[in-house]
Assembly symmetry: none
Homo-oligomer: 143 residues x 4
């Protein structure tokens, strides 16, 4: 089973922030987690509000918690709000039901980590997470 | 008052996982708790996401917390979401309002423990919990 | 990087409990965690007290948290009690400074999980953890 | 009042890790926090154990919490262990009483953030934190 190295995590963050700059987005924060939801690297751009580390981490950790992107968890929350809220209570690193948290998989489709982005709309956050993963020549889980 | 032995807990888990295999379900996790909500045994199948121990435990512990199956708690959450959310905050092992957490009772109807299953749809999770309880020749609470 | 499968975790638990039986130990509890500190499997023998799941998990998770066996963390706690106590506060799954929590490594020496045992003296707990790891033909970290 | 920019935080982390490499230290983790104890940037080197983000953050956040370096808090903990333990319980990001957490001040001596390093001995961790702060042409609080 593979893993995300610190060098790859730096590439992911730099590319995600660069993508946000190209799109003219608000200040972004990007977290890269290993397969066990432990933080490898994080950056928060100047001018960001205070909870961004927890939100970025919570999007990525929530995705790993359920094996689904935080976009999918957001859709689940629209249908089953109490269920998803109850998960947030027991998730050690939080579980944020909004797009921007994307699982990274190896060639066999196994989770090797996740990326969480926050700061702009959740759709834009997710675009930046995907741009970061692609720049590191890694693969985003398609779910 | 009776109790669930470790041998019975093993039978419950093995039968629940076997039932999931027969139905072709996703990787499952199964927790068996005693009447005080303390874990007796737990197994998480290969390929599961990270939060499954907490979810399986939270379904079973929530059932014991209120004396109702987690399916019933899920129905309650649809009607009274704030009430159920407030319970999750004070429940040490969580309280997950979705089917798959089933109370085990003795002949007199007293709770002697609970089983929590997660990994597939909550309806399928519950089928596996019931299969496990039946295989151990124990009785599921009818509520 | 390798990982501990559910089958291997079952072997570890069965062998650890068998070893306790051979030594005539008190009822034991055994937790097997993946490299990210998430529970793979757990068993608590009949007659155990209530907090055993948390203690077994906390020994193993604490070992992974610092990259040291819980025996070593116990020695550290004797010299620097406030430091080790402060870690317990921020460790999501606890950090128990007493022997019985042992890291499992792959051929390259990387952590692929950990085993935590509790119930008897911590020295005996550790013997059972090591017996379990050996029975699964896995390697305990030597630190 | 000044603040630590993301660019400065990157310089601090790069220099702290480079210093660790020159000294031949174990894999390090470095957290840079703003004056409100919110994470600006973090990196964890390959091969680190799982709790390093929390420890690095807890050293820096603890320093900001009391206005003292985590080395001084460690000395305080030796004299008044119960007092320092009680603070850890109420500190949202933890309070780690061991060297390696250093406050960054502006020309007027006001705290503008803090750096926390963990991975090697706490004395070596602190050397790397100071090297990082110096590389960014910032000033460490002398206490």
């Amino acid at each position: 089973m593979g893993y995300i190295s610190l060098d790859q995590a730096r590439t992911i963050i730099a590319a995600a922030l660069a993508h946000g700059g190209q799109l003219g987005l608000k200040p972004l924060s990007v977290a890269v987690l290993d397969s066990g939801s432990h933080l490898i690297a994080f950056e928060r751009q100047d001018g960001s509000s205070t909870l961004r580390a927890q939100i970025a981490t919570g999007k990525a950790a929530g995705a790993l918690a359920l094996g689904l992107s935080s976009r999918r968890i957001g859709e689940m929350a629209a249908e089953r709000p109490s269920f998803v809220a109850s998960l947030g209570t027991i998730a050690p690193a939080g579980l944020i039901p909004a797009a921007g948290g994307v699982i990274v998989v190896d060639e066999a489709g196994r989770a090797i980590g996740a990326v969480g982005v926050t700061g702009d709309t959740s759709d834009n956050d997710e675009l930046c997470a995907l741009a970061g993963i692609a720049a590191a020549k890694l693969k985003a889980q398609n779910a």
